[in-house]
């Protein structure tokens, strides 16, 4: 599948001039800088990052730092992937003076993210610099980690979790430990964190220079399963894959029975009970941890909601991995209409399964955390939670269809945005403190929007190129 939208193909690094003299060095750096500026993802998240880092209010710094480090983390991942992509090409090994400008600009961007922005924030608020910078050191660390090992991107999920885990008391308490750390009351720890991040970055730079060539078309995306050439050794999640093998085999054995015309499209994404069990127990552990750490019902509920939404996203993730095979699937004996209709239905079935599971999980964790006498408020809140899950599910389904051919991270972001939007609508629609009864109509927005989007997408697929 071609990505005609990649702009820095035009600025392929082989266009670098000879880098022996300082003037040329600067020129090269300019070229490299352009490769960053020409990608809208850096603009988009960069501006968002700056906007969030700016409004400083009195009181606890912690929530802001958590949000900025989340955004900084996303940016850091993109930068790391960008660097990997630049260094995993033949040009990186052959072109003289390639490494210098690329590493320099990379270091500059990296430093801007986790040193400069927090540093300026510290100066604005008259805090010692090491405080906020030390708090953002994990972002620098994440960048280095992702450069060396792509699946480290999963650590991005830590931020929203910790955001909620450290909810309520710690958020607003000026005396709490994290707050003190951010204010710079523990300089040794701050400097240790900074040193760690810097070391990690230096090591990552060394790794970059020695990066083996790999297929870079997929590696620039958030998807965690690139096909890297020559990886013959077993994968780290081999045992999970074995479970999938068994599930696939079971499903294949059903060939020809029942609703096979739709079921056959669900074969590659077949999940076993092990995956469900892992998801559920992992989620339960997380909720328990947050409930204990934050000692707050709201936090636990929020995390339970988050886990449910993550569960609902799982089939989108699965189906997104398959889009490379669309052409081949299409050339199997199915007509155009049959293929898209059946595939959309198969996707919908997968969503349904996970949505039901997510709803059960949400209901269970909600009941457990809100153990007490049954009352109407409890029922309403439970209903809201379940509705949120359903609406996120619908949003993810339709957005998943719409962004099927886009980059994975776009699916993720778009899905999360719309899911969150519709979740808010739902919550507002049900629990808003107003007399206006018509607010329940808001509940219909998501299903209708999802339906419209789905139909539009299926129609677009039917009339456009495949794959």
């Amino acid at each position: 599948m071609h990505d005609y939208a990649t702009p820095d193909h035009a600025l392929r690094e082989n266009a670098l001039p000879e880098v022996s003299r300082p003037g040329h060095w600067l020129k090269s750096c300019r070229y490299v800088g352009l490769t960053y500026l020409m990608r809208w993802r850096f603009w988009f998240f960069g501006i968002w990052y700056l906007l969030v880092a700016w409004p400083w209010r009195e009181g606890s710094v912690t929530p802001f730092v958590l949000v900025t480090s989340m955004l900084g983390g996303i940016l850091a991942c993109f930068v790391a992937l960008h660097l990997r992509r630049q260094f995993a090409t033949p040009a990186a090994k052959i072109v003289p003076g390639f490494a210098g400008p690329h590493l320099a600009v990379g270091a500059l961007v990296s430093g801007a993210i986790w040193i400069a922005v927090p540093g300026i924030g510290a100066w604005v608020r008259a805090l010692p610099a090491w405080g906020p910078i030390g708090a953002h050191a994990p972002v620098g660390l994440l960048l280095a980690l992702v450069v060396c090992w792509r699946p480290a991107m999963l650590l991005l999920a830590v931020a929203p979790i910790s955001l909620l885990a450290t909810a309520t008391p710690v958020w607003f308490d000026q005396k709490s430990l994290p707050n003190q750390f951010i204010r710079g009351d523990f300089p040794e720890w701050s400097w240790a964190a900074i040193a760690l991040a810097v070391t990690a970055n230096v090591l990552a730079a060394r790794r970059l220079v020695r990066l083996p060539e790999a297929d870079t078309s997929a590696s620039d995306d958030f998807s965690v399963e690139p096909a890297e050439e020559g990886r013959i050794t077993g994968r780290w999640d081999e045992w999970l894959l074995r479970a999938r093998d068994a599930a696939i085999r079971r499903r294949l054995a059903d060939a020809g029975f029942g609703w096979w015309s739709v079921q056959r499209w669900r074969v590659p994404g077949a999940i076993s009970w092990l995956h469900f069990a892992l998801a559920t127990s992992g989620g339960a552990l997380l909720v328990a941890f947050v409930a204990w750490a934050a000692d707050s019902r709201q936090a636990a509920t929020a995390v339970a909601g988050l886990v449910s939404v993550a569960m609902v996203f799982a089939p989108v993730h699965c189906w997104h991995q398959r889009r490379g095979a669309t052409q081949l699937e299409f050339m199997r004996p199915v007509t155009r209409g049959q293929y898209f209709g059946q595939a959309a239905l198969a996707f919908g079935l997968d969503m349904l399964v996970w949505t039901v599971l997510a709803m059960l999980f949400a209901a269970a964790s909600f009941s457990i955390t809100h153990w007490g006498p049954f009352d109407l408020r409890f029922a309403v809140q439970l209903l809201v939670m379940l509705l949120v899950v359903v609406h996120c599910s619908l949003a993810f389904y339709s957005v998943g269809l719409a962004t099927y051919r886009q980059r994975y991270w776009l699916s993720l972001m778009a899905g999360l945005c719309f899911g969150w939007l519709f979740a808010m609508l739902t919550i507002f629609g049900v629990v808003a403190e107003t007399e206006y009864r018509g607010r329940f109509l808001l509940l219909a927005v998501t299903p209708l929007a999802a339906l419209a989007l789905t139909l539009a997408m299926v129609r677009r697929w039917r009339t456009g190129d495949v794959g």
Partner: protein
């Protein structure tokens, strides 16, 4: 059905096909009719649109003008039964990285009414396709071989391959070409494969289609092409005039009494004509496909 009718029956007909990508015509009123039972090599520069042509032929890509008929059906609305007869190997096949090879094969087999398991097993052993490994851990060459096995398993009447050997080493390429020939033997199957490597084509194809500037600039038997495109070294007793030209001329270089002319309309009598008309001696140079291709493109 006599041989005549079989030969003139086209398995693929593209007439006046145009496809535009952001205003640029990648295919420009292209016409190509592939007879049944032939092995057609589609030759073109990188980026000439070979992949687009094949995708349009199969109904994967949508065309903006013209008609495409494949196996007697319009390509855009191919029926399931027609697709049972088609095997396709795209340029960089992507499969399910987490699935094992043998499972992918079994999965693909479940779609087809006819699946030759013995053939698949033979190919898998012959090409050393690792059955127990996951598709995500295969090298590019192994992926290509796997995609080819999947396309051959149901023994399609039409096999379409997009740059099938680009990623294979020379011995794997030879093996693949052998299989291409085997499948085509007897004229029952039609094969269309695109490449920019002329030497593979020369061995295996009986017809060649040259894609140039969005259209087919030549389609015919390879032998014919080599018979008709020749380079002539002409030495005249007098200086040759500037308007010197030969029928079907592609390129020429004149230096005083000598000229080097490439023509695409060579016939055995031409030498005698030139000799008598221009009082010159003619030396005929045979051009192989690569040289012909370069000459056609530099014109």
């Amino acid at each position: 059905m006599s041989d005549e009718t079989l030969l003139t029956h086209h398995v693929l007909e593209m007439r006046g096909v145009s496809k535009l990508y952001s205003g640029r015509a990648v295919l420009d009123r292209l016409t190509l009719c592939v007879p049944r039972g032939t092995v057609v090599g589609l030759l073109g520069k990188n980026g000439a649109g070979k992949t687009t042509l094949l995708r349009a032929a199969l109904g994967i890509a949508r065309i903006d003008h013209g008609t495409v008929t494949i196996l007697d059906e319009p390509a855009w609305t191919l029926s399931a039964s027609a697709k049972q007869q088609i095997g396709y190997v795209p340029q960089s096949p992507q499969l399910y990285p987490w699935m094992r090879v043998d499972q992918i094969i079994a999965y693909t087999a479940s779609f087809y009414l006819h699946w030759n398991r013995a053939l698949v097993e033979r190919l898998v052993t012959q090409w050393e396709v690792p059955l127990r490994r996951r598709a995500g851990t295969l090298s590019v060459g192994e992926l290509q071989k796997l995609a080819l096995v999947l396309a051959l398993g149901h023994e399609p009447a039409l096999l379409v391959l997009d740059e099938p050997v680009a990623a294979l080493d020379p011995s794997a390429r030879r093996e693949f070409l052998k299989v291409v020939l085997e499948i085509a033997a007897g004229g029952e199957r039609t094969e269309i494969f695109s490449t920019h490597i002329t030497s593979d084509l020369e061995r295996v194809a009986d017809r060649v289609a040259i894609l140039q500037r969005g259209a087919i600039s030549f389609f015919g038997e390879l032998g014919e092409l080599k018979d008709q495109v020749k380079r002539l070294a002409i030495t005249s007793t007098n200086s040759l005039p500037e308007q010197f030209s030969l029928p079907g001329q592609i390129s020429q270089r004149i230096e005083g009494k000598q000229a080097l002319v490439t023509t695409r309309a060579w016939s055995p009598g031409m030498a005698g004509e030139i000799e008598s008309q221009w009082h010159a001696e003619v030396e005929v140079q045979d051009l192989n496909l690569e040289e012909i291709f370069l000459e056609l493109h530099d014109a």
